[in-house]
Every structure is written in C-alpha cells, then in structure tokens.
C-alpha cells in the first residue's frame, strides 16, 4: 500500500504538468451558482483552487444574454466590454438573471410575483403553475425556462473548467440554499443533466462553509499540536436571493451539522425595497414592459444598487436619477432609513438565527465562532444583528465571504470522489442534516412528520397508520415537505395509492410508511400493509420522490377534494415496531 503511494507520488514528480490530470481524473468540481454571482473550484491535488474565466474573474455574473440570436452566459461575459455597458445590457430585457430565485417556483409564489418588475418578461396566472419567462430578442419576447437558462450557463461553466483542466468533467457538487425544496433540487439536477453534469452531492451552502471551517480547524490542530477540542460555529450566509443559517460542531476533521434553517430573503429583496422607497408608485409606473420603461427601470436599478454598495462604507448616499417622462429621483439615504425600509428582512434573519440555535439546543455562549459569508454579510446592520444575537464582538476572519461556499463544495467533491491526500488535508467528513420535515397527509389535512427537521443523514424512519373507514381497500399516500402543521401549507412532492388492503373494520389494518434518505440526499418512500400478514397482502410500494413536475398547488387541492376523505389514513398511536 505504502509503496503504491510512493509510486504515485514519484510519477507526479516526474510529470509535474500532468499531475492534476494523471492523479485525479475523476474528481468532482465544486460549483456555487449564486443568485447574482457564481464561482467554480476544484481540488488540484494540494488545495482548493478557484478557477478564473477569460477576464481573470473568480466571481462571474449569473446571467445568460439572448441578444441578436446568439447566447452568451455570464461566464465569459463577452469580450472587452465595459462594466457599465455590461450592467446596462443585462438590464435591457435581453438577459435572464436571478435564475436561482425563479427555478422550481410556482406562479403563486411571492418571490415570483416580486420578479415581475424585472426587465425580462415574467408572466403569472396565479393558478399554481410555472411562470412564463421570456427574453427580448430582435424586438420579440422569446420564451425560455429557468432550467434552460441555468443549463446554458452550466454548459459554459463546464467548458471553462474543461479548458482549464484539459480533460472532460463529469461530476459536480453544487451548493444550494437551505430553503430549497426537494422539487427545486430536482430542477437543479435536471439543468445539470442538460449541461452534461452529474450531481454527486447537493450541499446546503452553510454546510459547505462548515466543511471548510472543519478543514481549517484540523490544520490548526496539526500546526499547534493542540487538543482536538470541539468547536461550534454559527454560519450565517446571505446572498442576493437567500438567507441561510447553520450550527455546526467540528472536531478532528468531522463537521456535524446540528441545525439548519433558511428563508428567501436576500439582497434582491433589499434592492426592491429601496427602489420602491425612493420612487413611490414604483409598481404603477412599471406595470407592463415597454421599451422606455425597461430602460428607465434599468437606470433606477443601477443607481440604487450602487447606492446600497456605497452605503456599506459611508454614512449616507445620494441618489439622483432622471428616469424620463417627468419622473425624477433625488434623495439622500442614510443608515437608519435603510434599516427602517428593510426591517422585515432583518426580522426574518433574526428569526431563523434564533430557530437554528433553539433546534441545536444551544445558547449564544456555546458558540465559539461566528462565520459571516455571502455578499449581504457586508451590510453593517446584518453584521451587528448576527454578532449581537451570538454575543460576539468579531466574526471569524479566516474565511472569505464570497469564496467559502464554493471552496467547501470542492472539498466535498474531492472527498466524495474518493480522493486520498497523503498530507491529510482531505481527512474530513460532513455529517449532514435534513433541513425540513418530511411526512405525509393523514387525519384529514394534518401533516404527519415521519422524518423530522435536522435528522442526521443518511436516515430512515417509519410510522404506522391505519384505515379510517370500514372495508377501506385503498389509501392515498401524499408526500409533503415543509414546516406547516397542515399538509396544505407544505410542498407536495408526490403521491401514490396503496391498493389491495384487506377489507376489515376501520383501524384493524396497520399500514407502514417508511422514508429513506441516503447520503446523496435521494428520498425514497416505502409503503405497504404490515398487519394482517398473509399471501393476499400486496407487495410494498417503493417510490422515489419527488414525482410531481408541475402544478403542486392545484394538484394538492385536487387530491384532497377527490380522495381526501375516502382514501384517508389515520396515524396509529405509537407502538413498538418490528
């Protein structure tokens, strides 16, 4: 064994240029596609390396331009374009951005509603189907979907990586927000499949940061020959689209996620709030996309964005814009006004931090380090809020706010690909946890959680149910995910029927529903009759979730209306199970 290691090392030494290719041909890349920025990283044999595009950028804009019948993603961003022009082009209606905010959402979602004022076309019908999205091409709206846009983007990203590594890339680890539902995760996986990438793991962003933190702590222990004492970190991640919190315990290279929580609040929401604040009747003025309105909106958006950025380091900023058609904006914005306008967002952040600490059964004094990552973590109010809740004066310094998630994803990619580093830099493990409750509808419209939130992954749990009618021979299993007490408040993942239940008085039959999540986060549901036993009992049914592709809202309502009463199940009182 050791000899084999030496052989590999010797071979690497003699052919230095081919070391990466020869040693790790199948290592998975780490990809962090943020709502506004994305980055890609890979384990290069010694450490995590963030790859740069042709403009020498590590962080690339997350958009796809559809102008003049040619597609170009933000990976390259075109040749030799000025920043100002690039921003104006992105906001001209010909580019689709905010894919991560839109992917996998229904048109009843408030995030989708808020996106209707974006320069590209977002149409909703309000019946729980996918929104209609289109880009302006040759003065025509051309339809597309967030998955397609993301796939185009990933294709360019893949080309960039392969150009750098000089060999094909197949596997990837992607970071996702904690608040992503399983349906949204399947959309990400489909976009990756369209781009020729296989998703090895989907990692919640703070979990990826926790893995990077675990590696740093381990190296610290190596360097200082200190005790392998456990450290607990609270990781707060707020980007343009999402806000996530995790509490992770780390010791000896193992990162155990104790609790996760997240919500859809981010820089985009802050931007929208400020735009509406500086321009009253914002929604009225910009209802319907016309050419002059699109142009006017882009001016406002650029100016507001710039003001928010400057506010990070200044006490107050001026916003002066001529929007045309007699609309003028002339305003001075200071910190207190900024915080007042965005109070709801900051309250949301506070709520998920407190929930995360409570779920982990910790008090702020138990936290050793506070790690702030994501673009919005630079906002002074955010920093003071998080540090205040954790009773800390300063945050952890050794992690870059914008590169942490993708670095952690690259580490996980190397570990899950089976890379073994002699120096011990990859002697790491992430013990993940489920971010949401998983269960089925039972007892009318109640939600019976079978795998509770923050259960360690991989996990398998089962629960017993029974019939609600005499001689009931079928049962509907509707699988939901979420935090609500009623099934209707949660995400419907899929459904199937159990048939062939022996006709018996109600409550006389035991039906087991088992949920299994493996390390790749694949959810399977097993259901069947366990009592009475006999040759007439049909086999168990195994269904991989989610199965629904569209129309979760009205599908759930239709199921409840058609089958909710006659195929209902009741939760059995807890008893010892085989």
């Amino acid at each position: 064994m050791a000899e084999q290691f030496y052989t590999v090392a010797s071979d690497s030494e003699t052919t230095g240029e081919d070391k990466s290719q020869a040693s790790f041909p199948d290592v998975a890349v780490g990809i962090d596609i943020g709502t506004s920025k994305c980055s890609v990283a890979i384990w290069n044999g010694h450490q995590v390396e963030l790859l740069k595009n042709t403009r020498n950028q590590k962080g690339m804009r997350s958009y796809v331009m559809f102008k003049d019948d040619t597609l170009s993603a933000g990976v390259t961003g075109g040749a030799a374009k000025e920043n100002a022009h690039e921003e104006r082009d992105i906001l001209s209606g010909s580019a689709i951005f905010n894919m991560k905010r839109l992917i996998g959402r229904m048109d009843t979602d408030e995030v989708v509603q808020a996106s209707k004022t974006l320069p590209f076309l977002v149409q909703t019908l309000g019946i729980g189907v996918r929104p209609f999205i289109a880009a302006l091409v040759n003065n025509m709206w051309r339809s597309t979907t967030p998955e397609e846009v993301l796939a185009i983007f990933l294709l360019e990203l893949k080309a960039l990586v392969e150009m750098h590594l000089k060999h094909p890339v197949r596997n990837a680890v992607l970071t996702i927000p904690v608040a992503f539902s399983r349906f949204q995760q399947t959309r990400i996986e489909r976009a990756c499949a369209m781009a020729g990438l296989h998703v090895l793991r989907l990692m919640p962003e703070p979990t990826a940061v926790a893995l990077l933190y675990a590696q740093q702590q381990q190296q610290l222990v190596h360097d200082n020959m200190g005790s392998g004492i456990e450290k607990i970190a609270l990781i707060f991640n707020m980007g343009a689209g999402y806000c996530d919190v995790a509490v992770a315990a780390t010791a000896g290279g193992v990162s155990q996620i104790r609790a996760l929580s997240g919500c859809t609040a981010g820089g985009e929401d802050i931007l929208q709030n400020i735009m509406r604040h500086v321009l009253p009747n914002f929604d009225g003025i910009y209802a319907g996309q016309t050419m002059d309105r699109i142009k006017s909106m882009s001016l406002l958006r650029i100016a507001t964005q710039d003001a928010i950025h400057r506010l990070v380091s200044q006490e107050s900023v001026e916003i002066n814009i001529d929007l045309g058609n007699g609309h003028m904006v002339s305003k001075v914005l200071d910190h207190s006004e900024f915080e007042q306008v965005n109070r709801a967002i900051f309250d949301k952040c506070e709520k998920i931090i407190n929930q995360c600490l409570a779920d982990a059964k910790l008090v702020p004094e138990d936290i050793n380090d506070v790690i702030l990552v994501g673009g919005c973590s630079k906002i002074p109010r955010i920093r003071s809020l998080v540090l205040g809740l954790c009773k800390k004066e300063v945050s952890y310094k050794n992690i870059d706010a914008l590169e942490a998630a993708v670095s952690g994803a690259a580490l996980e990619g190397a570990i899950a690909s089976g890379v073994n580093d002699p120096s011990g830099s990859l002697d790491l493990l992430t013990i993940q946890a489920t971010p949401m409750n998983l269960g089925i509808r039972a007892d009318g419209d109640s939600f019976a959680a079978i795998i509770p939130r923050n259960t360690t992954v991989p996990a398998r749990r089962d629960m017993l149910f029974t019939t609600t009618h005499d001689k009931q021979t079928e049962a509907l299993i509707a699988v939901y995910e979420g935090e609500g007490e009623r099934a209707e408040d949660n995400h419907l993942l899929g459904y199937f029927k159990i048939t062939g239940i022996p006709a018996a008085p109600k409550g006389a039959v035991d039906i087991s529903v088992c949920m299994d999540i493996d390390a790749a986060n694949v959810l399977r549901v097993f259901a069947g009759v366990v009592k009475p036993q006999g040759p007439a009992i049909p086999p168990f049914i195994e269904v991989r979730m989610p199965t629904l592709d569209d129309g979760h809202g009205w599908c759930g309502q239709a199921l409840a209306k058609m089958y909710g009463r006659i195929l209902d199940l009741a939760v059995l009182p807890k008893k010892l199970q085989p």
Partner: protein, 343 residues
C-alpha cells in the same frame, strides 16, 4: 487477494488511538472491547480505493467468525467502542471516528454502508441524549441502583416474546394471531413480527401453545432478550428437535448478563469510594447512584419513561434484525453439538 484483517489486539490499538489529528488531552486507554464499526470496516488505508470490494466484505465476515465472545458488541457503548462510563465528549469523539469509518461519503454509496451508517446514527442519538441514555443504562444494568427487569414486577408486561429454543414450529400461534406471529422460513419456528396486535388473540395463542414458548414481557425485558438472541446462532427447528436438542434458557442468560454488568458498576463504584474520588466529575457516573432519569424529565411522569423504554426496545429489535442480515458481525454463540447431549 485482500490483506488479512488486523488481529483483535492490533485493531483495538488502532481504534483506541485516535487519528493523528484527534489528539486528546486525556491519556488514551486500552479499550477492553473492540468498537463494532472499527472491526467491521477495518483500516481505511488498507484499500487503494475508497470503494470497497464486496468480496472484501465477505472475507471480513469469515474472519470475524473466529473471534472470541468478547469481540461481539454487547451494547451500544461497545458499538461505538467506548466504556459505559464514557463522558459525553468521549461518546461524541467515538461517534465521529465511527462515522469516518462508515459514512457513505468516505466508504462509497453501497447500501450496506448506508444502512450501517444509519444504525450508528441511531445508536448515537440514544447515547447523546442524557434522558434517553439514562433509560438505556437502567435497562441494561449500568446504574448501581437499577432493578433487574426480570425481577421488577412494577413494569407492565405488555410486550410478547417467543422463546425460540422451546418452539417446535407447530404454527399454532401464527394461525391464531397472524398479525403478530410469523413462521420464519429459514428456521421453521415462530417469531414476533409486530407488537401491535389484539391482546385477546395473543393470549389465546399463549394459552394454546403446546410447549409454552410464548411469554408476556415488559419493554425492558424485551430489550434484553432481543439483545441476547442477537448473540446466539440459531438452527432449523427440525435439526434442533432431531438431536441438537440442548436448550438454552434465554431468560436466565439475559438476566445473568444483566447482573454481571451491574456487578461491574458496583465494583467500579466501590473502587472509586476507596480512592476517595468523589470530587471527580469527569465521568458520567458521578451520579452512579441515580435511579431515575435527570430531574428535569422526572416531571413528565411515568408516561415519558415508558415511552423511552419502548423506544429502547424497538431499537434493540432493529439491531437484532441488522445483525441477522449480516451487516453486523455474526454471532459466536453456538448451540451445543448432539454428541454433547450424550454426556
């Protein structure tokens, strides 16, 4: 083709010594029992790739067959490779080490690996919860003042157990109460498959059993009995009746093992008192005389304790099923040979 597995002493050393990066301020002790995860998975470095060859797993199973009785994991503590008096920090470190051995991220996405990882997670969830651990300790005899469940008449006997050494496989109970009892095809005898059944039908099955092999038990007794059965190799009922007929009183064995565990606790307590170590609070047995879960849980009353005991029994049953499928080490307790019966 696969290198031979480490012998038990070396394996114990490998497990007892934390990984290089896992330096402990506390001096390392030689653990008397080998952690289950370490024994099953072996040293990760011995394979050139992380993905395990299924044949290696088979080899491991064969090699394990030669281990002595002491190598069979006796309880959740030995599954993780710690002593029953381990502190919560020690349990967590052991859990992390086990996860490094058996987590799918490091060992591949083989179903057996995933199943075993789930099992370790379940063991850790019991031992890391102080209230749940207290219930477990009391059931298994790790509390000095605990009462042997087989002599505790206060617990309700609401669980059912088939003494498989007495069962002759007549199928009577499976006919009377098919929701609870099932005949195992491999062994031709009856087993309890579900505890959710009609009490009247179960009683009918008990009354009509020709060899009186079905018993009402308490949840705690069932935990101990299932744990004992996990350690015993079983043969087809026909073979047993034909001449390998020496029976084992599984009740007596489980009870004796419980007494043995408590005796160790008492001995350790006496040693501590003699050395006047009353100020030592590192050990979780600083409350070695506690006879109930932590005070804050006492207010929940008997219902809570009963629920925890039931969960412990269910976990013991799942562990037995897990062992039976071969992912665990095989049992080393064998039924006596027919020739021994002539003595």
């Amino acid at each position: 083709m696969a290198p031979p597995l480490l012998s038990p002493p070396l394996l114990a050393d490998a497990l007892a010594t934390p990984p290089r990066s896992f330096l402990c301020s506390r001096p390392t002790r030689q653990l008397p029992t080998v952690g289950l995860a370490g024994a099953v998975r072996g040293d990760r470095g011995r394979w050139s790739v992380r993905r395990r060859d299924p044949r290696v797993f088979a080899t491991s199973t064969e090699a394990d067959r030669e281990r002595s009785e002491e190598d069979v994991a006796d309880d959740y503590y030995s599954v993780l490779g710690v002593m029953p008096d381990a502190t919560p920090e020690e349990i967590k470190k052991a859990y992390y080490s086990c996860m490094k051995e058996c987590h799918p991220d490091l060992s591949g996405d083989h179903p057996d690996v995933t199943n075993f990882c789930m099992f370790i997670n379940e063991v850790y969830s019991v031992l890391s919860d102080p209230a749940q651990r207290a219930v477990y300790d009391e059931i298994h005899g790790y509390t000095a003042t605990a009462i042997n469940p087989f002599f505790d008449d206060s617990a309700p006997k609401d669980h059912v157990f088939v003494d498989e050494f007495t069962c002759i496989g007549c199928k009577n109970c499976a006919n009377i109460c098919p929701g609870v009892f099932q005949i195992e095809e491999d062994f031709g005898r009856s087993r309890v498959y579900s505890q959710s059944g009609s009490t009247e039908l179960i009683q009918d099955a008990i009354d009509s059993c020709p060899v009186d092999c079905i018993h009402w038990t308490s949840a705690a007794q069932l935990s101990l009995l299932e744990n004992e059965m996990r350690r015993v190799e079983r043969v087809n009922v026909g073979l047993m009746l034909a001449g390998m007929g020496a029976s084992i009183n599984v009740f007596r064995m489980a009870s004796a093992r419980w007494e043995k565990r408590q005796a160790k606790v008492l001995e350790k307590a006496r040693t501590r008192m003699v050395k006047q170590e009353t100020s030592d609070t590192r050990s979780s047995w600083s409350e070695v005389w506690a006879s109930s879960p932590p005070r804050d849980d006492q207010s929940n009353g008997d219902g809570e304790a009963s629920e925890r005991a039931k969960r412990a029994a269910a976990a013991a049953r799942r562990w037995r099923e897990f062992s039976r499928r071969g992912a665990d080490r095989p049992p080393t307790h064998k039924l006596p040979e027919a020739v021994g019966n002539k003595d």
